[in-house]
């Protein structure tokens, strides 16, 4: 299991700010966001010869319409990379971005490449329904009672988790409030500045009075989701949306968002050739299936699968990016695995920062790399999330 030819190192990582769905990036295409982070992450190693990039693996949860057409290859070309640099789109729903980073690392580990990019992009603005442009269920889902949970919306699965793991509305709201407080404090302290590459939005808008096209340019620098004015009272007023007697609300669920992230990986040979200082070593990735109706519990299965081969336990992990799809599932995962809350999402999570599905994995790797650069005391970091239709994923990184 652990045999490999060489190690893979993360040498650079960046992301766009994350905007609310139909927010700052409402007119920004996901392929443009991708091209932006691809240019930005490679710009961090100016001496890199771009034609040396072996492949660009891009996670995207709904790879259709504006983010269809193998968005990875489109992004590579739009970024101005040489024609010889290929691109592949990978879909594992919410773990797509993390899976893309892992896939890039493994290609290096196998000796197939020395320079790789793992990335993710997602615009939830362009999805007319949360299930993509055309929802089309298979009738077979309803033919067998066991398969019915395939049809469940994510919110409903969060309700099931809340029920089964006894996560109260109060605890969910407190968790959501903490997420906003941590994220707002992190923004105020400038902790995201290093990992974010600001985006210049350029919009063509009709000026009806003047009868001309007006070009509007805006500079987007910060995540749009965190609410400094969020309060327990405000959260408590929200009504459950997925179940009549439920506890999951818009306030204690992740936000729908637009964003992209990219991670540049190199083999030891390439690190030496380009004279770069790596940030971290890729230590492994795991995925695991769970029943679809409690998909949120996925990390409970995935995290041990990545820690055990590395000979580690959660006590060894200094920083955990646990995607907050829903407060209910994040709390259920933390309690089941007995995680130390102080190490989980120190800068807030998706409830505040947003969750652009397939991009989230790459974005949170960028956050972890930034934290490791900021704090020399951090050795091991973990990025993990639950996945629709019942899976979990986890990626392990070690500071070098």
């Amino acid at each position: 299991m652990n045999r490999q030819i060489q190690d893979a190192y993360i040498v650079a990582a960046t992301r766009t700010p994350v905007a609310k769905r139909r927010g700052a990036f409402r007119h920004v295409r996901p392929d443009d966001m991708l091209a932006h982070v691809l240019r930005a992450v490679t710009a961090q190693v100016p001496q890199l010869a771009l034609q040396e990039v072996g492949d660009v693996v891009v996670g995207c949860a709904m790879p259709e319409a504006e983010q269809g057409m193998n968005v990875a290859r489109i992004g590579v070309l739009l970024a101005g990379f040489p024609d010889r640099v290929p691109g592949v789109t990978l879909n594992r729903f919410c773990a797509s971005g993390l899976n893309a980073v892992a896939e890039a690392a493994r290609r290096i580990q196998l000796g197939e490449a020395d320079v790789m990019i793992g990335a993710g992009t997602e615009s939830m603005t362009v999805m007319p329904q949360m299930m993509g442009n055309k929802v089309a269920m298979n009738p077979a889902v309803f033919a067998d009672a066991e398969n019915r949970a395939i049809a469940y919306g994510m919110g409903l699965t969060a309700e099931k988790v809340a029920q089964r793991y006894g996560v109260s509305r109060e605890d969910q709201d407190a968790f959501a409030q903490a997420s906003h407080e941590k994220a707002s404090a992190a923004i105020a302290a400038g902790h995201f500045a290093a990992e974010i590459t600001p985006y210049a939005v350029r919009e063509h808008l009709p000026d009806l009075a003047g009868g001309a096209v007006r070009i509007v340019e805006r500079w987007v620098e910060h995540d749009e989701g965190p609410r400094a004015d969020s309060s327990r009272e405000g959260l408590a007023k929200l009504r459950p949306v997925f179940a009549a007697q439920g506890s999951v609300t818009a306030g204690n669920s992740s936000q729908m968002s637009d964003g992209a992230g990219a991670v540049l990986l190199m083999s030891e040979t390439a690190v030496k050739r380009y004279g770069v200082t790596p940030i971290a070593r890729y230590r492994g990735f795991s995925v695991a299936g769970v029943p679809p109706e409690v998909m949120g519990i996925g990390p409970v299965e995935a995290i041990p699968r990545v820690l055990e081969p590395a000979g580690l336990t959660l006590l060894d992990i200094d920083w955990i990016e646990l995607n907050e799809a829903f407060a209910a599932q994040a709390l259920a995962v933390m309690r089941t695995l007995d995680m130390d809350p102080a190490r989980v999402n120190p800068l807030g999570g998706a409830i505040a920062l947003g969750h652009p599905l397939g991009a989230t994995g790459a974005i949170r790797v960028a956050t972890l790399m930034s934290a490791m650069q900021r704090d020399p005391a951090l050795r091991y970091g973990l990025v993990s999330m639950c996945i629709g239709t019942g899976m979990g994923a986890a990626g392990l990184f070690e500071r070098v």
């Binding site: 055309k134 929802v135 049809a151 409903l156 309700e159 997925f242 179940a243 007697q245 439920g246």
Partner: protein
């Protein structure tokens, strides 16, 4: 009269009335600019806030939510030059003469030289207001008094000043009637005009006699509601809804402006009312007023103790028995003769309002008809005071009033006017009594009223004669008596609420066949009641209880046959709709050659509420329409439309205006929306004639209709699965909705399969009959029949 088009309206003042009048303009397709003072941060902030506030008002001022953006926003500082675009400018600011005059001086220079300028004052003198207009504007100035809420209250009082040009009033009346769909009366320039003068006096009389007889407010509300032909909210609850501050204001206006009124001694505010207003208990808007909601209980103020007590007082059986008496004369006489305080109360409020209205008739209105119609249209009374009086026996009631006056029982000692004794009633075939002119006057000869073949009549007025061409026990095919019935006859139902049962279905089919043989077209129109509340559940119940599903399926099949007969008639069949068109009524609308609908039409397929699905061709028609819409798109995917339609039908959602019904898909692009309900029949007949002239033929039956099939059903089922698992719908809701999905998607066939109408009708009928056989649906049907409300099971 030269033709005068009102291309655009300006409303000055974005208060509750101004904003709603602007909303009603856009409802009617009239462009409007709404003005107010400039705001502090955003110059247009006040108006924007008022427009945003429209969405929160109930009932909805806008006929369709997105119309809000059609209201143009303006402020007096920046945009007065835009008044030049407007042919009608309605001032609706606060009721202060100085403020109004100041605004008139400011806007007058910007009006174009033919623009009509009108004040929506509820009671200030129009002549006094006119003095604030420059000379050149005075001939174009008048009062135009809308009632709240302006979309729903039919009445608009039109008041001339001494200088108003008569032709201008005619133009405005035409516009208000035909374009805005309002019902106009011409009022004289006296304080509070007609409806509020009588209506507020009526409230004062209720206040007076409540106190005198020591009745509870809830008891009075039980008495002064539907039992005597007035709105359900009766007197005190209406006051809470309107706002006790507003009530205080209108009473104060009476006190200030009518010191010489013989009833002036009674123009006063009860102490409890002043106390409530002082405490900020203004009624519904502040959570407490005369009534207060405490949890699920509604408590009512006990004025003697200044505390709220449990409400729920009822009408005494002996009084209820009197009110059940059909003969108005015997009813009033019995109330007067009774010793029961409730009966004495009712007689007293009738008597004093009759007395008051008779005394003031000559000064405030052109005729008794205007007073009666004003009370119907402005206060929601089923009859105005003179109608009730006349129906009960003019001279008998007059003698009773006179005796009460003599005995000192009436609120004023003023004798009845002399003309009362000389008449046997104020409404006659030739017209209504004009007390100032001591003559009977006919209805307005304004051409716009020729569009109302059956205007709302007061009791005692002549009805237009009609002639029956054919009838069965539940429908009647008729024509106007003075017209050759050959062209376009009218089919009306005789059933209660115009419900559709087997005899109506037979009648419609027969009428279409007759019209095909003998006429140029057919209009389905109801002279009274809703267009149709749908299937006659009462007639279905015995079959259901007997478990006779063969007979039930036969009725559904006949329903479908009726719909297809309408659709494929060789003559144009026009559904002329106002009010409710539910279920089967909606299916008639959907299958008619054209629907001509009053803006105030409430159209929908609400079968899900009783555990059924539309099976008179409603689901079939939507499957067909969505496949046609999809064919015009690149992806040719009917699901783009079906999801919305599915939700509409599964929730039993109603289009709460003709425009909203069109948005929901119940009306088609070719259907016509008419602002005034009383013009619908005229437009429908003209439409039938035009279609006949255009060579109408039955449409070709669509062949090869692609359906969404089993994949579509599964996609819709996904929504249901989530709602059921989340406890948002019951298992039976799930079953009913799945049946709707199945009918809309054309059954358990592959997506894209080509079917025909017969196939779609078979699928919906089969789903319908299956649901009928479930105990939950049976329970819903029985509950609806017995309570009139849907059962959630």
């Amino acid at each position: 009269m030269s033709k005068f088009i009102i291309r655009k309206v300006a409303v000055l003042g974005a208060g509750v009335m101004g904003a709603q009048i602007a909303a009603h303009c856009v409802n009617s397709g009239v462009p409007v600019i709404l003005f107010d003072l400039p705001g502090k941060d955003d110059a247009d902030g006040i108006v924007k806030k008022a427009i945003a506030g429209l969405a929160r008002l109930e009932p909805a001022p806008l006929a369709r939510a997105d119309l809000a953006r059609q209201i143009e926003v303006a402020n007096y500082d920046q945009h007065l030059d835009r008044l030049a675009e407007c042919d009608l400018v309605i001032e609706a600011i606060a009721e202060k003469t100085e403020w109004k005059h100041a605004l008139y001086a400011r806007v007058a220079p910007h009006l174009h030289d033919k623009a009509i300028f009108a004040s929506n004052t509820s009671g200030l003198s129009i002549n006094t207001l006119a003095e604030g207009c420059p000379e050149s504007l005075q001939a174009r100035f008048c009062g135009v008094h809308f009632f709240n809420p302006p979309r729903y209250m039919p009445l608009v009082e039109l008041i001339a000043s001494r200088g108003t040009h008569p032709a201008l009033l005619d133009r405005l009346e035409t516009f208000l009637t035909s374009t805005l769909g309002k019902s106009v009366i011409r009022a004289l320039d006296t304080p509070n005009f007609v409806a509020n003068r009588i209506g507020v006096f009526s409230i004062l009389a209720v206040l007076h006699h409540t106190e005198r007889l020591g009745l509870g407010f809830d008891e009075v509300d039980a008495l002064t509601g539907p039992l005597i032909g007035r709105p359900k909210s009766a007197t005190y609850r209406t006051a809470d809804v309107v706002g006790l501050d507003t009530l205080t204001h209108v009473i104060r206006t009476m006190i200030a402006t009518l010191p010489d009124d013989p009833w002036a001694a009674h123009f006063k505010l009860p102490a409890w009312l002043e106390t409530l207003v002082g405490q900020g208990a203004l009624g519904q808007k502040s959570g407490a007023g005369i009534y207060r909601k405490e949890g699920k209980k509604i408590r009512v103020l006990d004025p003697a103790r200044g505390e709220y007590r449990d409400s729920g007082a009822e009408v005494a059986p002996e009084v209820a028995a009197i009110l059940a008496e059909r003969d108005a004369g015997r009813r009033l006489a019995a109330l007067r003769a009774s010793a029961h305080p409730q009966a004495r109360f009712l007689w007293a409020i009738f008597r004093d309002v009759f007395h008051y209205a008779a005394h003031h008739l000559s000064a405030i209105a052109h005729s008794a008809r205007d007073v009666d119609l004003a009370m119907r249209w402005g206060f929601g009374w089923a009859q105005g005071p003179f109608e009730t009086w006349q129906e009960a026996g003019w001279q008998t009631v007059a003698a009773a009033i006179a005796a009460d006056i003599a005995a000192g029982h009436a609120m004023s000692a003023t004798p009845l006017p002399a003309w009362v004794d000389t008449l046997d009633g104020v409404h006659r075939v030739e017209g209504a009594f004009d007390a100032a002119g001591a003559r009977f006057v006919a209805r307005s000869a304004l051409p716009v009223y020729q569009r109302q073949l059956f205007p709302e009549r007061v009791t005692g007025e002549a009805e237009r004669a009609t002639r029956t061409l054919w009838e069965n026990p539940e429908v009647r095919l008729w024509t106007l008596d003075d017209e050759d019935g050959r062209h376009v006859p009218v089919l009306s139902f005789k059933s209660r609420m115009n419900a559709v049962g087997p005899v109506v279905l037979d009648g419609i089919i027969e009428a279409v066949h007759r019209a095909e043989r003998e006429h140029d077209g057919l209009v389905i129109w109801q002279p009274a009641g809703p267009f149709s509340v749908g299937a006659n559940l009462k007639q279905i119940r015995p079959l259901l209880e007997a478990g006779d599903f063969v007979a039930l399926e036969g009725i559904v099949a006949k329903f479908q046959q009726m719909s297809q007969t309408l659709k494929y008639a060789q003559i144009p069949v026009i559904a002329a709709v106002s009010g409710l068109a539910l279920g089967g009524g909606c299916e008639i609308v959907m299958h008619a050659t054209r629907a001509v609908c009053a803006q105030e039409s409430y159209i929908g397929l609400v079968e899900a509420g009783v555990g059924l699905i539309p099976a008179g061709g409603g689901c079939k028609e939507f499957a067909l329409r969505t496949s046609r819409a999809a064919a015009r798109t690149a992806t040719n995917d009917p699901m783009n439309w079906l999801q919305g339609i599915f939700q509409t039908l599964a929730l039993g959602q109603l289009g709460k205006s003709a425009l909203q019904a069109a948005e929901l898909g119940f009306l088609r692009e070719q259907d016509i929306v008419v602002p005034h309900a009383h013009e619908v029949l005229h437009v429908a007949r003209q439409t039938a004639r035009a279609l006949h002239a255009a060579g109408h033929r039955a449409p070709l039956a669509p062949a090869g209709i692609p359906v969404a099939g089993r994949g579509g059903i599964a996609t819709l089922q996904m929504m249901l699965e989530n709602m059921r698992e989340g406890g948002l719908i019951s298992p039976h809701d799930y079953r009913v909705s799945l049946a709707i999905a199945t009918a809309l998607c054309g059954g358990d066939v592959e997506g894209g399969s080509l079917v025909d109408e017969r196939w779609l009708l078979d699928v919906e009928r089969e789903q319908f009959v299956t649901l009928l056989g479930t105990p939950e649906t049976a329970a819903r049907l029985v509950h609806m029949l017995e309570t009139g409300k849907p059962l959630r099971n």
